[in-house]
């Protein structure tokens, strides 16, 4: 299975080769070599272990984690072979950041990179996004990870309990939406005067809620209101559960009825509103952006970008007053909707936690009351609720642990926390030395390895990866399942 993924990755690498040839750049050969290596290795892994039969839950965890880890490793080859990065840790970090749609980069000068490499970076986002959609909507619900079992009933497509036919069906439907949105965004960009290459790259990065840009200044590099608003809209859409998009596309406007969607939208609007007012009133506003419209646009852009964990930057938010920065800081933990390409804790879990907390308070008024936590009309089972609470606690613990390691590796507390948080939440930029205008290139190899691991853990909803570290996972399993 894992080998099969690498064959696909190898095939995908041929696209940057073509891009490189089109732009008549010298690295086409190196890119082709990377592709060939991946194809051969993938084939070698795949062919002797031809997949047959059903996947068990345990195998499911292992396959998902290993496929992602291996993909990041092979995805690092183009960076190494073309020589733009010499450290394997940095190359893997860049690839992992791509495939987990984090968007943190080790490159200080992006604009000096060849088109082939730039395209590969964006493509890793886009492919990662595709993988995530299928993962969070079709695979993880069956593995019962961190409350994702809530989605079992919500996925479009046929309903058999078996994993494989369902994944195939669901994947096709949702990818259709994903590709459609990407195409739409690219067209709108081009219509707004952006070059085709930049348009495609940024669309890939937006829909995947990634955040790799082809400009050093990220979105601030485009001095166009139109392009900023297009980006805001599509970042927002990418943070919405894709099965909602699918259902809307088939004619049922289900957004308003979805409680998670409402909270997601409220959070963004309230945060943006606060940011706009505070930024405008405080006057300490980034130069070059004019007036109320600029304040509103940047507030919207940044709150959508951080909430959806995209990580595009339209203004250097580190220039904002501390209060505004703390609003963004809080948004790091919310994340996109469950079932989107966004990372973070996910709005659904936040929603359920808030409701559970409300119930705990209400319980003091009515000690004998039986209070269920529900989303819409569905009551959440207690074990699922416990699973979700466990997830959030693990998430926060990992965030702290990551920051601790970063601290020991010599970073200042703010940078350490921000780096850990931005990696685990798959956001990208953070604060301090990894802020809006900074990059991760200065970090030591151990730091990059740990952050790469956090990206993977955050992306795969924590449990999936951590399970592999539990000894029982590897004990002999029963002969039937």
């Amino acid at each position: 299975m894992v080998g099969l993924f690498q064959v696909f990755v190898g095939l995908a690498m041929l696209i940057p080769v073509v891009v490189s040839l089109l732009y008549r750049e010298g690295d086409a050969g190196a890119l082709f070599l990377a592709s060939l290596t991946t194809l051969v290795a993938g084939g070698a892994l795949y062919l002797p272990t031809r997949f047959n039969g059903e996947i068990t839950t345990r195998e499911g965890f292992a396959i998902v984690t290993m496929a992602w880890a291996a993909t990041a490793n092979f995805g690092a080859l183009p960076y190494l072979f073309t020589g733009v990065l010499s450290s394997p840790a940095a190359a893997v970090f860049e690839a992992m950041s791509g495939f987990t749609t984090t968007g943190a980069t080790v490159f200080a000068d992006i604009e000096s990179l060849s088109h082939g490499i730039l395209f590969w970076r964006s493509l890793t986002h886009w492919l990662g996004g595709m993988g995530i959609i299928v993962l969070v909507i079709a695979v993880l619900p069956y593995l019962g990870v961190g409350g994702m079992q809530l989605f079992r009933a919500e996925v479009p497509g046929p309903t058999p309990e078996r994993l494989r036919p369902r994944i195939t069906q669901t994947a096709k439907l949702l990818w259709f939406v994903y590709v459609g949105l990407t195409a739409a965004q690219t067209l709108l960009y081009v219509a707004g005067g952006m070059g085709l290459f930049d348009a495609v790259n940024h669309s890939f990065a937006t829909l995947a809620t990634g955040g790799f840009s082809t400009k050093n200044a990220s979105m601030a590099g485009f001095d166009s209101r139109y392009i900023h608003y297009v980006t805001i809209v599509f970042m927002y859409l990418a943070g919405v559960n894709f099965s909602l998009h699918y259902r809307a596309a088939t004619g049922r406007m289900v957004y308003l009825r979805d409680q998670e969607w409402r909270l997601y939208t409220y959070v963004i609007l309230i945060a943006a509103g606060l940011l706009a007012v505070v930024n405008f009133a405080s006057g300490g506003y980034a130069p070059g952006v004019a007036g109320v419209e600029g304040a509103v646009r940047d507030a919207l852009f940044q709150s959508v970008s951080i909430t959806t964990t995209t990580g595009f930057v339209s203004a250097d938010y580190e220039m904002w007053i501390p209060g505004s920065q703390m609003i963004l800081f809080a948004l790091f933990f919310v994340g996109g909707m469950a079932g989107s390409t966004g990372g973070g804790i996910k709005v659904l879990r936040v929603l359920l936690l808030l409701k559970q907390t409300g119930n705990e308070i209400r319980k003091h008024l009515h000690p004998r009351a039986i209070l269920l936590t529900r989303v819409g009309t569905r009551a959440i089972r207690e074990d699922v609720m416990a699973n979700i609470i466990g997830f959030v606690i693990l998430y926060l613990l990992l965030c702290l642990a990551g920051a601790l390691v970063m601290g020991f590796l010599g970073m200042d507390p703010l940078t350490a926390l921000a780096a850990s948080m931005a990696s685990l939440g798959n956001v990208g930029p953070g604060f301090g030395d990894v802020g809006a205008t900074d990059n991760y290139g200065w970090m030591s190899d151990p730091a990059l390895v740990v952050l790469s691991f956090l990206m993977l853990v955050g992306r795969l909803e924590i449990y999936t990866v951590l399970l592999l570290f539990h000894p029982e996972t590897w004990k002999a399993r029963r002969s039937f399942h």
Partner: protein, 494 residues
Amino acid sequence: MGRYPWIPPPDIPVPSLDLIAGNATLMPPAAMSAASLRRDSDRETRFMKVLIVGAGEVGYHLAQRLSEENHDVVLIDSNPERVEFAAQQLDVITLLGNGASLPVLEEGGVREAAMLLAVTSLDEVNLVACLAAKRLDVGLTVARISNPEYYQRGSVLSREHMGIDLMINPERECAWETFQLLQSAAATDVAQFAGGRVQLIGLRVKDGAPVAGRSLLELAERYTDKHYVTAAIVRNDVTRIPRGHDRIEAGDLLYVLAPTSEIVGIPPLAGYERFHLKRVMIAGGSSEGEYLAELLEQHHVECTILDHDRRRCVELADRLPRSLVLHADATDLELLEMEGVSGIDGYVSATGHDETNLLSSLLAKSVGAKKVVSLIHKFEYLHLVPRVGIDASVSPRMSTVNAILRYVRRGRVMTVASLMGIHAEAIEFRVDEGSRIAGKTLRDVHFPKDGIVGSIIRNDEIIIPRGDDEILPGDEVIVFALPGAIPEVEKLFD
């Protein structure tokens, strides 16, 4: 299909409160029969052959009422004791055997029967009996069904698929009645007409009430904006249909007809505070309790429901998102008080045990619940309710009997409400082309002295009539009459 309200077939009115509304409980056979008998014999009434499957309380009472109306009743049950008891007490033919078996049904004369009422406590037996009867071309079949899965739209057994004319859910009927009772704290009786658009309520006039000591004419001048008809006054156990010069005294029991939209304005006239149902507590998570809670949720009434079984509580909490579900005992007074039972608008005890219900209701009443309704299963307990000070009682079986009778009697006479506190009946007639009364004004027809036309429903309009109002074919007319005047009234509508 929404779970509530149960939608009756289009040709029968919405369930109205019949016999057991308010304090009215056990109906002594004589109270009803005099009027019904005459009514049936005056018309060219077809005496029907009726098969009743199940001689439990529902079947027994149906048999009693229908035999009093001179129908040929065959009562079938597989329990020898029940059959024996019914044979001794009732003027019906009894048959021992399984009501779902064809030979037994044939022995009971199913081929000549006009109607089959399957009212055992087993849904499946009732269904099979009705299906068999339909095969044998029985005109009207009624099944008592408790499990919603059997009658919901889309069910294989649903009405449209199987041709069963009426499926009655006792628990649901009962919840509906309770809801009606709760809505008016003052009423001792509530009955509905014209599909719920007109209501009749019984009210005891309080000392110092605005209407006390005044004649009807004075009141009519004083309250020109209110639309109502004082249909009857009960004083010292004597029922009279009042005339304009009659005075209302404190302590009188008034029966007032008014459009449902204006009924809330009536109790204040009799000295009651304006009542608005805001908060209800249901003690007991029985099916009746759950249906009632659903109804209350639909009407945005704040609802608390409690049950002693934790698993049932979780189930209720799942199905009733807007109600507060408590895991508690119905007789735990301390908890009830903590949850604010004193001063609550409505309290309904709805556990499966009558004794618990009575006790729970008494506790709630003692700490000041405004309107207390108790669910009572055993008919013997029903008469206890008014005596011990509980405001009203409901019984799923009695609700079923009433609902079935209402359905069975439909025709030109649409709804008959027999009221316990009063020796009179409210009858809803439909006026035909050939009716003697059609096309005449009320003044011209010499309406009997002991009867009164309460309302005329013409298309969607509700008319509170005066002497110069005309009655037209197609009208529905609600008449309130003493038993002696009923034959005369019926002639007018023939």
